[in-house]
Symmetry: C2
Subunit: 91 residues, 2 copies
Amino acid sequence: MDRFRVAAVVTLRRSIADVQGTTVEQALHALGFRAIENVRIGKYVEMEIRAASAEEAHRHAEQACQRLLANPVIEDYQILAVTPAVAKEVP
Amino acid sequence: MDRFRVAAVVTLRRSIADVQGTTVEQALHALGFRAIENVRIGKYVEMEIRAASAEEAHRHAEQACQRLLANPVIEDYQILAVTPAVAKEVP
């Protein structure tokens, strides 16, 4: 069993109004960042997964997104990266 | 001026306890995902930035993280990607 570090992102579907994103965009404009538009806010989830391969870790992460992390009615998810995790115990 | 799509991630510093991540991890374990550990939750911010170059867009995004999106005392930020945005008006 190896350890993999997996990063996933859960975002509101494009058709769903992103109130938090709109608020952040207005705050950015108020601070002078007028070139920034269409801000959308999502959740970023980083986890370590014990698996036999990167593919298996990816599959576990997808299942976790489907069953808990994302609400499929209003959210999409995306697995951004699966990389080998460096064991912390190594001397 | 071109448009760039920029993705940024804001996460709690490693030294700060991530209560939300711990709660999600416990929920995953209760659902049977016992191979998943060290869950940490952050914010994912996607935005479009008008800029002369990808480098300028990157710089704008960094400044936005420093001035608004991240709390430098407890959070780190990372610009994940800067990609050309496809104009929606193109026929």
